[in-house]
């Protein structure tokens, strides 16, 4: 077993991890390294399409306060408004900083960063849509990830690529290191450190249909959870309304922005019934619910579990005419605005969206909840926001909370870079002043024991079977719609699956080199933890807010539920719930109408 010593360690090399790495490594007096199970440029940040929101006002007047209002409203008033203010204020600065790092944003004719409209982003507290999403074609996330990685190379950040982190080491009430396995050799390494920042991304793979990558298994979140850190707002998981049927590949909101409409099996534009004013441009949670209701009432296409997203020029023009607009679109326009989407559909569905409607269904997309932190990305471990010294988290795995019950499009990328930056700075500052805590004896013992147990698991259930059972269960009972009975059965089921996992799992590969079979099994263990935490939190929240829709409690209930949930895992494995009030500064909760 190898042991390394670094003052500060970053786990995960997506947008949040790389931004933190850049900032932490600017502090010359400390040694920093990044540990990532994927090669950095493979991180899921690269999949983000639409844009990054910042009130730059390149194209028209905009203020960060308006951005903050939209974010709070989008969150169904569950976001902490102090954090939202920090994010929206710093967004402007951080986007310019990205540009100074060479990020190739699209340009306005004057040469400024180009911005476009996006769902929920408005001028002057809801007056009308505003251009706020800074973008590089429909590849914004790719550009952010590449740019940050390039800067890390320039600044000679130390990387441990394809090292999977298995455990967090605590000692004397603070962080002492992590345990990771070098995937290429199977060797376990211990990293002795003063500070750790988790930026391990989301866990869309808990669900069957997801826009998330195979690597999005929520490892970091589950690791700290097992080490006693609570998880905040786990019941809020965003379902994006438009994923390619059966595959979950994301079809950006931009399609509807360009005039695309949702159609059921009767050829009806059903959003007219659910959101009479803005119809297909209502917020993500509203549309996902509407699609589900259509499917449930047998109005899915062929009675199956999907509907159509129709962006054919004739359809769009018909609706434009009905709406009294003069604008008309044609084939060439669609080709120029949505090249990647057309490519996905042509490649994977063999259909041309210009000629045929796209079969879509809601797809599990984004974790609003996660590891609770304050605005400096310090992980806090109770309702009083007590920090755990040396532990930080940023990006999708963390919950600051700026997204509350429903994230606005473009706000995740902002979250990554703003809080990645703050976290990087804060951890460097901490690591510079702190002493190395002593490493406990055999720091990797638990992780090693777990790996060995899994390696030798020779029961009768394959990892994939168990994973599918979990994904299926989450999709049915902890998806867009929930109710107590179904969630209850999900909790029971997940505990059953956990029992099988512990006693009857089968792992084929006993080797060391690239033993992905073993690591898949290990990841499944983390996902089961998160599935249980999600279901338990969902059962607890007896109201409907944002992405959390309880059929047995269809109304938002500010009197009882304007608060965050914190789910704790006790050493014996039991889960407990606590609450934390929402921070409200400027915007009092109102009914959310668009």
């Amino acid at each position: 077993m190898k042991t390394h010593q670094f003052d500060a360690l970053i786990v995960g090399a997506g947008g949040a991890g790389l931004m933190a790495a850049l900032y932490a490594s600017q502090e010359q007096r400390i040694k920093v390294a990044v540990v990532s199970k994927l090669y950095p440029t493979r991180s899921h940040t690269g999949a983000a399409q639409g844009g990054i929101g910042a009130a730059l006002g390149s194209e028209e007047e905009d203020r960060w306060e308006w951005h903050a209002f939209d974010t709070v409203k989008g969150s169904d008033y569950l976001a902490d408004q102090d954090a939202v203010e920090v994010m929206c204020r710093e967004a402007v600065d951080v986007v310019l900083e990205l540009e100074h790092m060479g990020l190739p944003f699209d340009r306005t004719p004057e040469g400024k960063i180009a911005q476009r409209r996006f769902g929920g982003h408005t001028r002057n507290h809801g007056e009308k849509p505003v251009r706020r999403a800074c973008h590089a074609a429909d590849r914004t996330g790719h550009m952010i990830l590449q740019t940050l990685y390039q800067q890390c190379i320039k600044n000679q950040v130390h990387f441990f690529d394809e090292f999977q982190v298995l455990d967090l080491i605590l000692s004397e009430g603070r962080v002492a290191g992590i345990v990771a396995v070098d995937i290429a050799t199977g060797e376990v390494h211990v990293f002795h450190t003063k500070a750790v920042l988790f930026a391990t991304g989301g866990w869309g793979k808990l669900w069957q249909i997801t826009s998330n990558a195979h690597a999005c298994t929520g490892d970091g979140t589950a690791i700290v959870f097992r080490r006693g850190v609570p998880l905040e707002d786990m019941e809020f998981f965003q379902f994006h309304p438009t994923g390619i049927r059966g595959m979950g590949i994301l079809i950006t909101e931009g399609v509807r922005g360009e005039g695309g409409v949702l159609i059921n099996n009767e050829g009806e534009r059903f959003m007219e019934r659910y959101a009479p004013t803005i119809k297909d441009l209502a917020s993500r949670d509203v549309i996902s619910r509407a699609i589900y209701l259509e499917i449930r009432d047998g109005r899915g296409i062929d009675g199956k579990n999907y509907v159509y997203l129709d962006v054919r020029p004739e359809t769009v023009n018909k609706h434009l005419a009905e709406a009294g607009e003069t604008r008309r679109i044609d084939r060439a326009y669609i080709e120029s605005k949505l090249p990647d989407i057309l490519d996905f559909c042509r490649t994977y569905l063999g259909i041309d969206p210009v000629e045929e409607p796209m079969p879509i269904q809601p797809t599990a997309h984004y974790a609003m909840g996660g590891i609770p932190t304050n605005v400096d990305a310090e992980v806090v471990i109770d309702a009083q926001k007590t920090p755990l010294p040396g532990l930080y988290a940023a990006g999708e795995c963390a919950c600051v909370s700026v997204h509350g019950a429903n994230r606005l499009g473009t706000n995740s990328l902002v979250d990554l870079v703003v809080f990645g930056r703050r976290g990087g700075r804060a951890m460097a500052e901490y690591a510079r002043n702190a002493e190395f805590p002593p490493l406990p004896e055999n720091p990797a013992a638990e992780a090693l024991a777990e790996l060995e147990q899994l390696r030798n698991a020779d029961g009768g259930t394959r990892v994939a079977e168990l994973r599918e059972a979990m994904q299926d269960m989450m999709m049915t009972c902890v998806g867009v719609f929930r109710d107590a009975a179904c969630i209850d059965s999900a909790i029971e089921k997940v505990r059953e699956l956990r029992a099988i996992y512990d006693t009857d799992l089968h792992v084929d590969d006993q080797g060391k080199v690239f033993n992905q079979d073993l690591l898949d099994a290990w990841e499944l263990g983390r996902m089961l933890d998160l599935a249980e935490a999600t279901a338990v939190s969902a059962l607890c929240r007896e109201e409907s807010r944002g992405a959390h829709s309880r059929e047995d409690f269809p109304k938002r209930d500010d009197a009882n539920w304007l608060k965050h949930t914190l789910v704790f895992r006790k050493p014996d494995g039991r889960l407990e719930i606590d609450f934390r009030p929402v921070v409200i500064t400027n915007y009092q909760p109102k009914e959310r109408v668009y």
Binding site: L38, Y39, T41, R42, S43, H44, G46, A47, L96, E99, H100, M101, G102, P104, F105, D106, R107, T108, P109, E110, G111, K112, I113, A136, A137, R139, H142, M143, Q146, T147, Q150, Q151, I153, K154, A184, A213, H214, A215, M247, I249, F344, T347, Y348, L349, G350, R462, V463, A464, V507, D508, D509, G511, K512, V513, F514, N515, Q516, D517, D520
Partner: protein, 238 residues
Amino acid sequence: MKVTLRIRRFNPEHDARPYWAEYIIKDVAPTDRVLDLLHHVKWYIDGTLALRRSCAHGICGSDAMRINNLNQLACKALVKDLVKGDHGTIQVEPILGLRVIKDLIVDMEPFFEHYRSVMPFFVNDNPPPDGEFLQTPEQRARFDDTTKCILCAACTTSCPSFWANGTYVGPAAIVQAHRFIFDSRDTAAQERLAVLSQEDGVWRCRTIFNCTTACPRDIEVTKAIAEVKNAINRGGVD
């Protein structure tokens, strides 16, 4: 339909040399990805099969491999384009010119070493402006194509010049350099051109075009390389 999947397999812990393994997979849909077939093998037949993948839709660059003797992303190669009729064979091998670690996984380090050698990062040491660096849409369009690269290595490992000699920096590194050389905001074009003008730089490109065919992002790789060659010969950009 039915597909026989022939996979070039190698486990350094057991095998002296790579061998072909065949798996017959039933009920394959024509729209299935090769990645789906590989997953089927890995999840339900033999968990020891090793391959890199993550996004599953051609965005992350993990799963470039040689499918029916052509470099492709397993997640973008569909069965219907590889098999005609209702039974056929699909052959999957690791990409060429890099050491095979296990099954479809190769050692990417030499590839990334070439990548890092071309200074693939934005350089402009002047104090930044208050706002953004201004750049016209035309200046931005000049290097748009090469910003799309996902570092999948499909191009470099399809290049006979790279197969012949791994010291050639390879098309991917040149594409990455191109992205900065032609960026109006960047100030280190000369340094990059100097690096690429060395023996193992652009001259090793013999205009074979395998790279352009292989690129899953439809980057005009050979064109980018030629532009860099011309820039070197002219002593700079424009």
